[in-house]
Symmetry: C2
Subunit: 80 residues, 2 copies
């Protein structure tokens, strides 16, 4: 089973990486870019049988290790 | 218009971040995790009218700046 976790900064949190990206793109002539935000994707391979139970466990992983829940939000997808 | 770009290491490229994640999860008792890979997501706000033209431009951005195509692959999604 596979879990895909999307982690991004919460709205309102300053995103210096995103600003650097949009400025660089503008400098390169991509003037249609008005804003950029950067996040992470983590793909996990799991030895699990039950998708619902796997989702609970992966949420626990996010809370304990993968996401900084003060400034980041996350979304979990489970795939067979 | 919005573009979402997923950037990940190509298969076979060493992923030290991913290894650190899977080892840390195992150490925390999440023994069902057998492998982890970490990638990036970049979300762009665009002032563009035509989705097909926007996709071409965003692909150009990936080739020129956003992805290191020697070791990374990317996927572009355009949203209204």
């Amino acid at each position: 089973m596979k879990a895909i976790i999307y982690i991004g900064l919460k709205p309102g949190v300053l995103d210096p990486q995103g600003r650097a990206i949009s400025r660089s793109l503008n400098d390169l002539g991509f003037e249609e870019v008005t804003k950029a935000r950067q996040g992470k994707v983590i793909e996990l391979d799991l030895t699990a049988e039950d998708p619902a139970a796997a989702e609970t466990r992966v949420t626990e992983m996010c809370e304990k290790l993968l996401a900084n829940t003060v400034i980041e939000s996350y979304r979990v997808e489970i795939e067979d």
